[in-house]
């Protein structure tokens, strides 16, 4: 009975947080609402016996990624959205399209049948040991590829956040050389 109560409390919290993400006008409130959603979902992960994913969700997502978003808000300042704009019916149309999409997903869930589960030992399901065994045996290549992906993302972020000074410097030097080269015949 406790599990059912925990599920409903966290589900209501997650939906309220999701509404807060798309309704609030200031970006900082959207980010904090998303933190609420992530913490509620992490409790649901724990309910679904995914202990390691729960820890990663709290540390990496609710911790690191959200702090990154907060840093960007602190850097750019609280940008409020202008009311109105080029698309007048954007709220109305966007909500309609989204609700139709949600209706499709809901109708697909009706009458869904589930495949019979495998019979694994649930006492060790989702522990760090089992996750590690899976990552370093069956998921070894995807795991290595994600590390390459993270490296590429980090290098790209550093290059972008340097503001293109490297390229400009090289371009200016080339321009100088070309200008001097053109002026020499005149002199």
């Amino acid at each position: 009975m406790l599990a059912v109560a925990v599920f409903w409390i966290m589900a209501v919290l997650a939906v309220l947080g999701g509404l807060g993400v798309i309704v609030s006008r200031q970006p900082i409130r959207s980010i904090l609402s998303l933190v609420v959603v992530m913490l509620a979902l992490s409790v649901l992960f724990l309910l679904l016996s995914a202990q390691f994913v729960f820890a990663v969700q709290v540390i990496v997502y609710a911790g690191a990624v959200m702090v990154l978003f907060l840093f960007v808000v602190a850097l750019l300042g609280p940008g409020r959205e202008r009311r109105g704009g080029r698309l007048r019916f954007q709220w109305w149309l966007g909500s309609l399209v989204g609700l139709v999409f949600g209706g499709f997903i809901y109708s697909m869930l009706q009458g869904a049948r589930f495949r019979p589960p495998q019979h694994t030992d649930l006492s060790t399901f989702g522990t760090v040991q089992e996750i590690g065994l899976g990552i370093f045996t069956r998921f070894l290549y995807p795991f290595e590829l994600t590390s390459v992906l993270l490296l590429v993302a980090a290098v790209g972020a550093i290059y972008l956040s340097r503001g293109g000074r490297v390229g400009e410097g090289r371009g200016a030097a080339a321009d100088d050389g070309r200008v001097r080269g053109e002026e020499e015949p005149h002199a």
Binding site: L34, L48, A50, V65, L76, E81, T120, G126, R138
Partner: protein
Amino acid sequence: MPDYGQITIGGGTLSAAWFLGLAAILFTLGAIGVLVRRNPLIILICIELMLNAVNLTLITFARQLQDLDGQLFALMTMTVAAAEAVAGLAILVDISRLREVEDVDELNELKG
């Protein structure tokens, strides 16, 4: 035919369909946010919300089928989401050096 969608946890019994329905609601909210909002930062936040909803379905099916692959794939999704957030925010900061970005509709020149 037995209902395999029931998940027994501790003393209670939960239906996997509840988790899938919650994930559908959250994904729809994120999709509405991407369509409706104009601030690029909030659009990135809504994408994170959608990725989280997908993670919930992956972990629900992992528990329902008692197969660990769903949880491993959820970890991969988290890594990709982190990389996406880093790249998107770096692009956003770089653009906002040139001018103030209030509306993604203004970013239509493809030259920064």
